[in-house]
């Protein structure tokens, strides 16, 4: 193995940027790290180069552990996004720099330089100064410079990011050829999926510091394991159905499990992926004898011509109760969309659908993703009433086939084995049949910091904390503080579980009218779909609100209603009067809600939500769920 990373982690301040990344790159391979900005891909590359030291984990190059070596001694070539050409040296001097450092003879230096400049297509330009070169040429110099001293490993950090599209394509092709010709082991970092597929022998997808999957471009595109990769790489339709008597129930349609699909428990959610090019449509149902599986009838709502292919969008009423993971349901949308592509033809062709046509939709191929239910973290801590958190986790776990990690912080004098045993005993009591799944996790120290770290490292969908009783003011203060910290630093929703809610029959979503209000409705809808709770969507209107504002709020609530209906959740909408607080408290009281959902966006709003949360916790005994609002959701 040329490059081996094992369990690399790195934090910048409290932010976890690289989380337990391990990967292996074979000799001569071109390996691509793909991820959006902030996914930690460049940090991984800089750790391999030695420009950043990892917090934990080891780096091995050519079988040698180099974790503690400075960059000078690692024998790597690094190409930077902004070239980092030495601006006071000629092209030739730039290329020869590494050789001079290694005290290579003048004749040999010259030979290498001529060879490399020829190789990257800059023959005869050795005498130029960098500011006489175009961006593309500078990047070629950077490549030649990094290869001059025959490094064992070549690292490229978004090398084409600052270039025009056309030059980028040219350079990609030359890079691929040069890499083949020299056979140097290469890691390239990019955010561009097309670039990753074109260049990579293998591609690894990073998200929020975690390496999700790696494999050949074909594997990743057609047979990914995770929803993120399925949706991140190209247009994908991901629908969440249920496993039903050995088949997949997708709304009104029933699909067979394809051979080799991962095993799903009865009743568990099944996520299927089908690419736009595998979606077929025709005016009449598909015959059972064909390879195409019918999923229902849909209407053409969008048709775009893009050159070689035509993009179509269908709206399928028959997918009621199915959660479309990608493309996600737009706010206020009632029916699932399906993206399809077909070859475009100059004269329309026989199988042409017009806008508004009702067509039968079938799939020529689909792929079942790995079962991955929601992940909960239940905090079982001396400081919080842990038992109600565990009970709530059991409730949600059963409803959604989710798994729960039970977190316990150790006090300095705790004996690890004893605590383990205690937890096992507790779990046996709560889930005698092993349903839903629980895991246990011990953290070496107590306090909010350790809990935050666990939430960051474990990528949970929801954190459950036992809420203190109404009267315990100190406890309420502690819990709201911890909640705020978690919301700001991890962005994961937090549920304050009450011991009173042994089941959740009625749910209240308090929403602000407008863009930020949509996030809590979305999350609430997802949760309600699993636990079949009757849901009230509530908005407290301004007492002096203009007619216009009331109308907008009503529209917002109507749209929320559409969305809940699309998920098959029984619901109602209500508008209360200002001031907000008494109005919400009154609704909780009269509506007998078991769970209240609030949204919080940004740190200032987290603080005002804090206030609301602590009031609700001191004045009622229901459970509260706070959803941090992500403004850039679809």
């Amino acid at each position: 193995m040329a490059i081996v990373l094992s369990n690399i982690s790195k934090r910048f301040g409290e932010q976890l940027v690289v989380n337990q990344v391990s990967l292996e790159v074979e000799d001569g391979e071109l390996f691509v790290l793909l991820g959006s900005s902030g996914s930690g891909k460049s940090t991984v590359l800089r750790i391999i180069a030695g420009l950043i030291a990892p917090e934990s984990g080891r780096v091995k190059l050519q079988g040698k552990d180099v974790t503690d070596l400075p960059p000078q001694l690692r024998g790597i070539g690094f190409v930077f996004q902004n070239y980092a050409i030495f601006r006071h040296m000629t092209v030739a001097e730039n290329v020869e720099f590494g050789l001079k450092i290694r005290k290579v003879s003048r004749a040999e230096r010259r030979r290498r330089r001529e060879f490399l400049l020829e190789l990257v297509g800059l023959g005869g330009l050795g005498g130029r100064m960098p500011n006489q070169l175009s961006g593309g040429q500078r990047q070629r110099v950077a490549l030649a410079r990094a290869l001059a001293y025959e490094p064992a490993v070549l690292l490229l950090d978004e090398p084409f990011g600052a270039l025009d599209l056309k030059i980028r394509c040219q350079l990609r092709r030359s890079l691929k050829e040069i890499q083949r010709q020299i056979g140097v082991t290469t890691i390239l970092v990019t955010h561009d999926q097309e670039e990753a597929f074109e260049l990579g022998d293998r591609v690894a997808v990073l998200e929020r510091g975690r390496l999700l999957e790696s494999g050949s471009p074909q594997e990743l595109y057609y047979k990914p394991h995770t929803e993120f990769v399925a949706a991140f790489l190209g247009g994908g339709n991901v629908m969440v159905g249920r496993s039903d008597k050995g088949r997949i129930r997708l709304g009104a349609a029933v699909l067979p499990f394809p051979p080799g699909a991962p095993v799903h428990e009865e009743g568990a959610p099944v996520r299927i992926l089908f690419r736009p090019e595998t979606v077929k449509h025709q005016p009449e149902p598909f015959a059972a004898s064909t390879d195409v599986v019918t999923i229902g009838q849909g209407r053409v709502t969008l048709k775009t011509f893009t050159g070689p292919v035509e993009k179509l969008r269908f709206e399928l009423e028959t997918l009621q109760g199915v959660r479309p993971a990608a493309p996600a349901l737009a706010y206020g949308q009632r029916f699932a969309n399906i993206e399809a592509t077909q070859e475009s033809r100059s004269n329309g062709g026989s199988n042409d659908a017009a806008l508004g046509d009702l067509r039968w939709i079938g799939l020529s191929n689909f792929h079942v993703l790995d079962p991955s239910a929601l992940k909960f973290l239940a905090v079982f801590d001396r400081a919080q009433p842990g038992l109600s958190a565990v009970q709530m986790a059991k409730l949600l776990g059963l409803a959604s086939h989710g798994t729960t990690t039970l977190l316990k912080s150790l006090a300095p004098d705790d004996a690890v084995e004893a605590v383990q045993q205690e937890l096992q005993l507790l779990l046996q009591n709560i889930t005698p049949h092993g349903e839903p799944r629980f895991e246990t996790r011990l953290r070496p120290a107590q306090g909010g910091r350790e809990i935050t770290r666990e939430v960051q490292e474990g990528y949970y969908d929801l954190v459950i904390i036992g809420r203190p009783p109404q009267s315990d003011q100190e406890g309420v203060r502690r819990v709201t503080q911890l909640t705020r910290r978690l919301l700001i630093q991890s962005g994961v929703p937090v549920l304050l579980a009450s011991s009173a809610s042994s089941s959740i029959r009625r749910m209240l979503i308090c929403t602000a009218a407008g863009e930020p209000g949509k996030t809590d409705v979305r999350f609430g809808a997802r949760l309600a779909r699993h636990i079949h709770a009757f849901t009230t969507i509530f908005h407290a209107a301004h007492s002096k609100a203009s007619e216009e504002e009331v109308k907008r709020a009503r529209h917002h609530l109507e749209q929320a209603r559409e969305m809940l209906s699309a998920y098959d959740v029984p619901n109602e909408i209500k508008i209360g009067q200002e001031p907000v607080m008494p109005s919400i408290l009154n609704e909780i009281e009269t509506g007998k809600h078991d769970l209240v959902i609030l949204g919080a966006s940004g740190s200032s709003s987290v603080r005002s939500a804090d206030d609301l949360v602590s009031r609700i916790v001191t004045l009622t005994d229901c459970s509260v769920l706070i959803v941090p609002m992500v403004p850039d959701v679809d």
Binding site: S9, G50, L51, I52, A53, E55, S56, P70, P71, P444
Partner: protein, 280 residues
């Protein structure tokens, strides 16, 4: 779990440069400056107050602060005008005019002092001419103000130039498309965004004026109660070996400069810049 918590830096030389920089600063700046506080601490507050508020000292404060403020205002106006003209218009000798702005940074203050005095004294080139219309410059507070205008000008110009250069043309174009006239564009669109930088330039010029000695000592008459500035008074007390008096006054001036420095730093933060680029 965490095997090793360390922040190793890839670039070398952190320890060496940190050690040397801090040592050098401490020996040359921090420890000597600290002696002022040490010396003042030997005074009781009553003594300090008495020294720092005698009528002669109060008159010197008034003159120092007043002349510096007046000069800073003059520079605010003319400095902005010069910066505006240099950034936005074309005219002959522009490069030379631009280079000349830094003259007060480069010309020793003593030289500036004697030549300003000579030019503006009652028999000088410009002074004699001004005398005829009844204006006396040299050996009056007006002369002090003139010297401070000379000293402070580059601060305003060099603070404003980069800011004016970075003004997006689209701002004015958009305002013009929406029907604003030149005057409206200047006062409603451009000027509101320039306030932090103007205030920075003003404070820099003011702060520099407060401490100025070399150019003023020649052009001021140095008469107690009328043309004696605080730095000169400190100098006089030093010459009389009145170290207590000198340190007390120095402390007052030092606190004034530190306050201004704090203000300037927060202003340049406000203006969203890393550091003010005016050179001294």
């Amino acid at each position: 779990m965490v095997t090793r918590i360390q922040t190793k830096r890839a670039l070398p030389g952190f320890g060496l440069s940190l050690g040397f920089t801090v040592l050098y600063l401490s020996l040359l700046v921090l420890i000597p400056l600290a002696t002022i506080f040490l010396k003042v601490s030997t005074l009781s507050f009553g003594e300090f107050w008495q020294i720092a508020t005698t009528p002669r000292v109060l008159a010197a404060y008034r003159l120092s602060f007043g002349a510096s403020l007046a000069a800073a205002f003059i520079n605010l106006f003319f400095g902005f005008l010069v910066a505006w003209v240099l950034v936005r218009y074309r005219f002959p000798c522009k490069r030379m005019a631009d280079a000349l702005i830094d003259l007060p940074f480069a010309l020793p203050t003593a030289v500036a002092g004697i030549s300003l005095t000579t030019v503006y004294s009652s028999n000088g080139w410009l002074g004699s001419w001004l005398e005829r219309v009844g204006v006396k410059v040299a050996y009056t507070p007006l002369g002090i103000c003139l010297a401070l205008v000379f000293i402070g000008l580059p601060f305003v110009v060099r603070t404003m130039q980069p800011v004016l250069e970075e003004l997006e043309p689209e701002l004015e174009e958009a305002a013009a498309c929406m029907g604003a006239g030149r005057g409206q564009i200047f006062f409603r669109v451009l000027l509101p965004g320039l306030w932090p930088s103007l205030l920075t330039g003003f404070s820099l010029a003011f702060a520099r004026g407060l401490g100025e000695y070399g150019s003023i000592v020649f052009i001021a008459g140095n008469l107690p109660f009328s043309t004696e500035i605080v730095p000169l008074l400190i100098m006089t007390k030093l010459d009389q070996f009145d170290y207590k008096g000198a340190t007390a006054l120095a402390l007052v001036m030092l606190l004034a400069s530190f306050t201004l420095m704090l203000l300037i730093n927060s202003l340049s933060h406000l203006a969203g810049k890393k550091s003010h680029r005016a050179e001294v």
